[in-house]
Symmetry: C2
Subunit: 249 residues, 2 copies
């Protein structure tokens, strides 16, 4: 295993940061690393907003339910951005392009582009000794985040990325057995193996939660997912995304 892969295997989300802020140079390197990721059709269909204003940071921390947003060394918001693609078009062409951007395909393109860039940013930050935590919690109120960051049509906030100097040392969390995630040629080619893999993972996780250094609990993977999904979650995302011109048709 080489150093790049070793670093991936050491990944864990960091939720407590030291007070130290990132330097402009560190921020620039992280964003440039993000930009080096692959991009569909060369569109580069994302924007990244660095939130430094303490009032905006505080409000996003509150609405997402994560105080480490406020205490991070730098907080990025990754946005799907299709607007840039039409920015330089003349008005007649522009109207036509807009129409063609409204479908699920282009929504997918922008979301995937943003996520690939974000994972480069995360690994770049970790390679510099920093810790990271993705903040999907900004989707608790996308409309408010949109207002705070003054996002135009065809630009939506997908998730945050809190980055900073780690102030705790959590363990690496187990992942599903490879047999439950990776298949050859056809999906789930051996159902017995697949089911056993999921059962084993519940057992692995029960043990992990019971024995870890802090925050011990009695739980399994299947149980925690059922608790989360038994109620509707973020139903208003659909309408918000469509109101921005994306994923409409």
């Amino acid at each position: 295993m080489n150093p790049v892969i070793e670093q991936m295997f050491r990944h864990r989300s960091i939720r407590k940061f030291k007070e130290q802020q990132l330097s402009d140079r560190q921020i620039r390197t992280i964003v440039e690393a993000a930009q080096r990721a692959s991009t569909s059709n060369y569109y580069q269909a994302y924007s990244i907003i660095g939130v430094t204003d303490p009032i905006i940071k505080k409000e996003i921390a509150d609405l997402s339910g994560h105080e480490h947003v406020e205490r991070s060394g730098h907080f990025f918001v990754f946005c799907a951005d299709l607007l840039r693609l039409i920015e330089r078009a003349e008005s007649v062409t522009r109207a036509k392009l807009k129409e063609n951007l409204e479908n699920t395909e282009h929504f997918l393109v922008a979301v995937i582009d943003a996520a690939l860039a974000a994972q480069n940013a995360s690994l770049a930050a970790e390679s510099m000794g920093l810790g990271i935590c993705y903040i999907g919690g900004i989707r608790n109120d996308m409309k408010r985040v949109d207002e705070l960051l003054k996002l135009p049509e065809f630009v939506i906030p997908l998730f945050g990325l809190a980055v900073g100097y780690p102030d705790h040392d959590p363990g690496v969390k187990p992942r599903l057995p490879l047999e439950a995630v990776y298949f050859e040629n056809i999906y789930c080619h051996d159902e017995a193996v697949y089911t056993r893999a999921l059962e084993n993972f519940d057992e692995t996780l029960k043990k992990y939660y019971a024995e870890r250094a802090t925050n011990r609990r009695h739980d399994t993977w299947s149980d925690q997912i059922q608790r989360k999904l038994i109620r509707p979650v973020r139903s208003e995302v659909t309408e918000y995304v469509q109101s921005k011109g994306m994923n409409k048709i």
Copy 2:
């Protein structure tokens, strides 16, 4: 700049591969590296299918329009997968969970999870001296890819990843100026800077296309995007995704 970031800066898509296949060990390492990426709510809402059957590989190469799919050392298909989340639930609960998974929020969760995993896979492969190319072209006919890989409800193919030993040495492609992608606190805070950045990028790219070693052409970024977007693209993706239970409500 450290070795992880240096590697990101060397990235370019590889479209010609040597005949050598990846070893089982290499495939396993790439998938395990993918699994170490962050995941929303710990859902790990993706599956990866390794396509080794030459008949399936050929058909995917044809429908995506990329012969390097067929000639890759290994071809992965990354799928958004929400099915695993309900696999172990009793039937009454299962029906309820399904309903709650049908919205755009959970579609986003699965697409982002799959993309983060794929970017880890890509960087892991590149760190092993392999080359990669994302194949969005599988979305030319998602329904057919779905049939070939026998995907169940709540599982959709997002993109392929062709991996193999590089048999050419293309240059690194320019990226948008940072000023067109990264903003502080509010979107596009200085429109003059933003517009100038896009104009500069068109100039940079005109020069890049005119001077590169192979496949020279006269083109800019804005022009190529307009040519691509002036016609509707993959309009049937919307219906297919909904037919699988995702992004419906």
